[in-house]
Amino acid sequence: MKKILFSILCLCGLVSIQAQVDRTQPPKSGPAPVIKLAEPQKFELNNGLQVLVMENHKLPRVSVQLSLDNAPVLEGDKAGVSSLMAALMGNGTTNIPKDEFNEEVDFMGARINFGSGSAYAQSLTKYFPRVMEMLADATINPNFTQEEFDKQKDILITGIKSQENDVAGIAERVSDALSYGKAHPYGEFVTEATANNVSLADVTKFYRDNFVPANAYMVIVGDITFEKAKELVETHFVGWTKAVPLSFQYTQPVNPQYSRINFVDMPNAVQSEINVQSLTDFEMKDPDYIASKLANFILGGGGQRLYLNLREDKGYTYGSYSGLSDDKYAPGRFQATASVRNMVTDSSVVEILKELERIANEPVTEDELARAKAKYAGNFVMALEKPETVAQYALNVETEDLPADFYQKYLERVNAVTVQDVQKAIQKHINLNQLRVVVVGKASDVLANLEKVQYKGKTMPIEFFDKEANKVAAPSFESDIPEGHTGQAVLQKYLDAIGGKDALEGVKSILMEATGEVQGQTLEMVIKGTSINQRMVDVRMMGMSMNKQVFNKDKGYVEAQGQRTELTEDQIKDMQLESKLFPELQYVMAQLDIAGVAQINGKKAYKVQLSSNKAAFYDAETGLKVQEVSTQEMNGQTISTTVGVSDYKEVSGIRFPHKMSQQMGPMTLDFTILKVLVNEGVTEADFE
């Protein structure tokens, strides 16, 4: 009883204490934590390699980061050589075959990776000596083989292709290229063409010229003593031959003469990518470095002005941010970005510009600055948890030419920044009269409104670029069909464009020879046809017939891999129309309508439904046929086949396409037509 009473009393006590909790005010901070900024130990090898060691024995693991502080290299028409070099490194060494190397790394549960100017390795403490030995071997004696090179080049090119419709990826590439220029290392990018220009010898040369120790820094962090680290580096990296990378000059990139929008049309976009940029000379050693970073934070840090306006107030975007990058080799860059739904693209540009003008023209509030300072101070304190960060600080002091006490006095430096410093920094870094506003999005949805964007009392001019940052004309995407325009007229224009009715009717036979490639195998294709409903298509691989279709007036068959199948009655009916040399000569007599308008390879084309299972597209400007789409029922499923035709060339007064690309599901077959003969080379025997 006494016990129970006691606990009831206790409970009451507890409740009454809790009732007094003052929730209305945030609790006060405790005493500020003591900050210990550890210093890494350093040494240098004769070949120039500088090493920093940060002991941390909390976990039984060690990591090593190697970075080459070289000036950026322009790769030009061989853009891709540095990424290929990186892909080839770490794949074995001249001493250890690739498979053994990879197997051993994996067996240890370790990691060894290379970048074009860096390397990283990490493992449990017990394996680290061996990992360092392998890292050094891979650095000094890379295993450059033709086989691996060919494979990596294939992967690189497929990767480039895979990004063609990636709106965010294209936006980034175009923003860089327009800001820095394609002739600057920061503006150039890899294309299929430049990747194809690279040879294995180029990779080897790039490695010899650039992967050298003169400007190399190595940071070792973790469960290892300084002595042991030093011993490992000295033993294994002493053989890295001393050499200095070549140095280059490039044109100085500059901001545009006046503010403008640079637009790239991507019809698949459901969001527009906006990037407002301004180049600025900005290095970490500049006295206004911290003030500039704080200024950028107030404008576009997480949860700050851009975010509050475009996300929390308007709901235009998942997030809008800005960045200010420093660079000791080239101009740095201010960028304000957002991904926004198509409908609000113009409004978002307007709001971002408004925020830039506001922060440049009006001083920020003391509260905003205090918040930014607290954030920077907090980040600094919290980052100390990671020994890697502390090592990075020490590395920055070396490579960025900072005062030795930069980080010791960091918090004091943050505290000393004033509202005036912030405004000065903004005015220095954001050139409001020379902004480049890159917008990548769907023109048909966003352009009409974007053309009306007002900035500083004037309509902002728009320039158009393609996905490779080449200047192009404004996209014509109006989907309306001109009044009175008919399918008949489209077909007539096509017939005129390829030679005219009279010339086409004079054709008795055609022979075409083409070559294509599938899964690395070469295919040959021969097509023969006559004006009296005869047609033969033969596809061969290494001299063997893979698929042969023959049609002769009222009968025909398909022969595939030795199996012969006669055509059904329906198929014969279809073929009687299909086997015409120029079916449009027939179709043009029918009253066909234009079934639609589409963009094909970026150009406007009219669609004409030729029959229930076949449609064709004709270029609105040239009149030439650019694509055919036919559908077929097969086992209850509808399969559609798309054939694109291009590269028209004249043969005997008639223009024939010399490139054909057939797409069926994920497969694409590209054919190049090698030879076209008109009225020769075809005999009756071809159709038996």
């Binding site: 609790p27 006060k28 994996d106 549960g109 497929t158 990004q163 419709n165 690395g520």
Partner: protein, 439 residues
């Protein structure tokens, strides 16, 4: 033979075990049912405070998808004592950072602060649990924001819809069949009343775990926890009764199209049991065996030797009720998707028919050991793991003991699990294709 013995020697030399520093913690319940876990690590002056609520995408309001994630956005809109828009200001001006994320099974909120702000962080999370302010204005704005998030991550993103397409085909009845982020229509239709009811039901102390980890004093922290969370009223008990799925017994084929890609992908998916089951751990090992590292089976064969794939991977998408095991590849050059499917299946067949080699088994053990050491390397990650192991696995001590489960898995078990879950008649094959350009 010579090589094999070398590996055995290596294994013996280094010994099988490494001890990562054990994560120490203390856990208890408040009277209102809130579970509390404290982890002290005074190495750096940093503290992580987090709350995990046992509510996720599978828990809906009137069947509406994407509800839990939408709700997560609303919980940054303010509380009775923290005005709208002030949450982030409070975090920044105290030098911290914060965020949240929602899975199909749980919602996780966290703050990281310099350690003199521990009390502040507890006050903030208790405000969020006790009396968040949810208003129509916030619902309207966050509806747009979440839809933008969906466009950014899913609709405008290359390969962004593959998970959605797989779940749709692997699940028929269980709410896992629908996307965690929700359908646009459901997002638009969600009402303020539904959000209020959702809060009443799920955002209660008896459905949450609070973790404070880092540079703390245990006694002082307990006092603050009691002060700010002790008087939050307990909620009703929560019952879930989601439909069971019938086993997949016949291969399913599906296609999906994506306008943002040029290179197709082929994906094979199998339905698997809850992540708490021993089989799920075995499947983690199978993924590592198949595609982690350059010497892994699929990578070495398809990317390296035969040059058929740009990328190949296997992963075990683990969840609370069911999981999904996925093997995928992207072709290089003209390799057909069928070829890729057959090459992937060939390796899975081997797993069903043969024991993996002794050497590969040892390699797996070494990889999991290394992963274990790295997994508890920062306080923020430890806080998340403690919450997860308690709430979803029902055993906080897994943070130190999970490695023992992996160590105890045998080669025979790997074969058994492959035979139970990874058969061709149990799979869904998804062709993920570029959207044809013309309409």
């Amino acid at each position: 033979m010579k090589k094999a013995s070398l590996w055995v020697v290596l294994a013996l030399l280094f010994g099988p075990l490494t001890y990562a520093q054990e994560v120490s913690y203390e856990e208890y319940d408040l009277a209102n049912g809130l579970h509390v876990i404290l982890h002290q690590d005074n190495n750096a002056p940093v503290v992580t405070t987090s709350v995990m609520y046992h509510v996720g995408g599978k828990d809906r309001a009137n069947g509406k998808t994407g509800f839990a994630h939408f709700f997560e956005h609303l919980l940054f809109e303010g509380t009775k004592n923290i005005k709208k828009g002030e949450w982030d200001i409070l975090v920044d001006s105290n030098g911290g950072r914060n965020n949240a994320n929602t899975s199909n099974d749980r919602t996780y909120y966290y703050e990281v602060f310099p350690s003199d702000k521990t009390e502040l962080s507890l006050w903030m999370e208790s405000e969020r649990m006790l009396h968040p302010v949810i208003e129509q204005e916030g619902v309207d704005t966050q509806n747009e924001v979440v839809k933008e998030e969906r466009r950014l991550r899913v609709d405008n993103s290359p390969y962004g819809r593959f998970a959605e397409e797989l779940f749709k085909n692997v699940f028929e009845k269980h709410p896992y069949k629908d996307p965690n982020i929700g359908y646009m229509k459901d997002l638009d239709d969600s009402t303020l009343e539904e959000f209020m009811a959702f809060k009443e039901l799920y955002y209660v102390p008896n459905n949450a775990v609070l973790v404070v980890a880092g540079d703390i004093d245990i006694t002082e922290t307990k006092g603050w926890v009691n002060k700010y969370f002790g008087d939050i009223p307990r909620g009703k008990d929560i019952f879930r009764n989601y439909p069971d799925e019938a086993p997949i017994t016949q291969e399913k084929r599906a296609k999906a199209y994506d306008a943002n890609i040029q290179i197709p992908a082929i994906l094979t998916a199998y339905r698997t049991p809850s992540f708490t089951s021993r089989e799920a751990y075995v499947l983690d090992m199978v993924s590592t065996y198949l595609s982690d590292g350059r010497s892994s089976k699929l990578y070495k064969k398809m990317v390296d030797d035969q040059k058929q794939a740009l990328q190949v991977g296997a992963f075990n998408f683990s969840q609370e009720d069911y999981g999904m095991y996925i093997v995928f590849a992207l072709p290089v050059g003209e390799t057909s998707l069928d070829t890729l499917t057959n090459e992937m299946e060939e390796e899975v067949t081997k797993l069903r028919e043969e024991l993996i080699s002794e050497k590969d088994y040892q390699k797996l053990q070494n990889k999991f050991e290394s992963r274990f050491v790295n997994s508890n390397s920062n306080v923020e990650g430890i806080a998340n793991s403690l919450a997860r192991y308690y709430m979803l696995y029902g055993d906080t001590s897994l943070i130190n003991k999970e490695i023992e489960i992996y160590r105890s898995i045998t080669r025979e078990e790997i074969k058994d699990v492959a035979n139970t879950f990874l058969n061709p008649n149990q799979r869904v094959i998804l062709e993920y294709l570029p959207q044809p350009k013309t309409k």
